[in-house]
Symmetry: C2
Subunit: 213 residues, 2 copies
């Protein structure tokens, strides 16, 4: 399986890329700036330039020949909400369109807990939730992709524990490392296809939790 990671230089993107490489999966880290390559080169992970402000057709050429796309890009808190709209929403949708252009079926998107429920959107970062909501909805209803939407709770830099909870979540946190593990594990778990999976740290081994998702 050849996997392309969009947003590879983010915290979760780096963990996903490392885990895939460690597992012997052929992975290419999609990056925006040349200086982001060093991290991956040090770990013998290939990189490719991908521009989420570009056209889906161009992005589709970059994705040609891959079997799965993982989207974990985000404009982050340092840029304005213009980039929330153009990266977190439109960049995500263009990535889906690029995957379709390249004939790729499998698409895993990292979203946020409660993105689908306006009443739970955090007041402080409401535009971010709105962007995630509309990107998720496009993936669910406007594509024919074999998608998995991962909705983690509050992200921590703790070491992963390998165990999560996916049902009846009212809130909570999760290590980015466990989110990365769940994304990687979802690629080999057909039960995750066409599913939105909420997760916080918990008691169930990740593979087992995903199988029941």
């Amino acid at each position: 399986m050849k996997v392309f990671v969009i947003g590879a230089n983010g915290h979760i993107g780096r963990l996903i890329s490392e885990q895939l490489a460690s597992a012997g999966v052929s992975v290419v880290a999609g990056i925006r700036k040349p200086e982001q390559a060093a991290f991956f080169e040090d770990r013998q992970i290939k990189t490719a330039h991908i521009d989420l402000l570009g056209r889906p057709e161009e992005m589709g050429v970059t994705l040609d020949g891959f079997d799965a796309v993982i989207f974990t890009a985000g404009s982050g808190g340092k840029t304005g909400d213009d980039m929330t709209l153009l990266i977190d929403l439109d960049g995500a949708v263009k990535s889906m369109q690029a995957a379709q252009i390249a004939g790729i079926k499998r698409f895993v998107l990292v979203s946020a807990l409660f993105a689908e429920n306006r009443n739970r959107w955090s007041e402080a970062i409401k535009p971010y939730y709105a962007a995630k909501f509309y990107a998720d909805e496009w993936l669910r209803y406007r594509t024919n992709l074999d998608y998995t939407i991962i909705e983690p709770g509050a992200l921590t830099f703790d070491a992963g524990v390998g165990k999560i909870e996916t049902a009846g979540i009212e809130g909570g946190s999760i290590a980015r490392e466990d989110v990365a593990s769940a994304v990687v594990a979802s690629l080999s778990e057909p039960a995750t296809i066409k599913k939105t999976i909420s997760m916080v740290t918990g008691e169930t081994p990740i593979a087992e939790a995903l199988k029941k998702s």
Copy 2:
């Protein structure tokens, strides 16, 4: 016919409300702040408070009993792109959901020329176009509303000429008064249902142009 105008206090919203009232149509101007009411009271037009940052369920109560909704709200250039996301996109979608909750079928949305074509989005206000695009797409594909999407070219404050062009548009401008006339005329022209109609000033009388749309 009872018509509710969302974004009534905008330039186009005021023109639409005035034209509807002049034509003897029962119209309510949806406004955000009490001080916006005076303009309409002076013209014997009823107003109602509607909050696009509120819940669709609450908005649906406000829309109860109407036959058509016109959405011409926009956060404008004075607020940030957080409001572009929360008003122009999410506020528009919540208005559609509110109309559906209220059992209203007819929904006319004022969008922007080329909103459906990323390659034509103006670089200076790209986030605005992205917001319009996703709102338009929701209306087309995620609702069962009898919609009309009006996509005017560059808006001017010129007096309306009552004539437009709707086909083969490469660019151009249009008086806000003519946009308002087209919105009002679309309510009584079934040919405009489930259509996206681009328009700039032209040679064809508005009613005739809409009939052929």
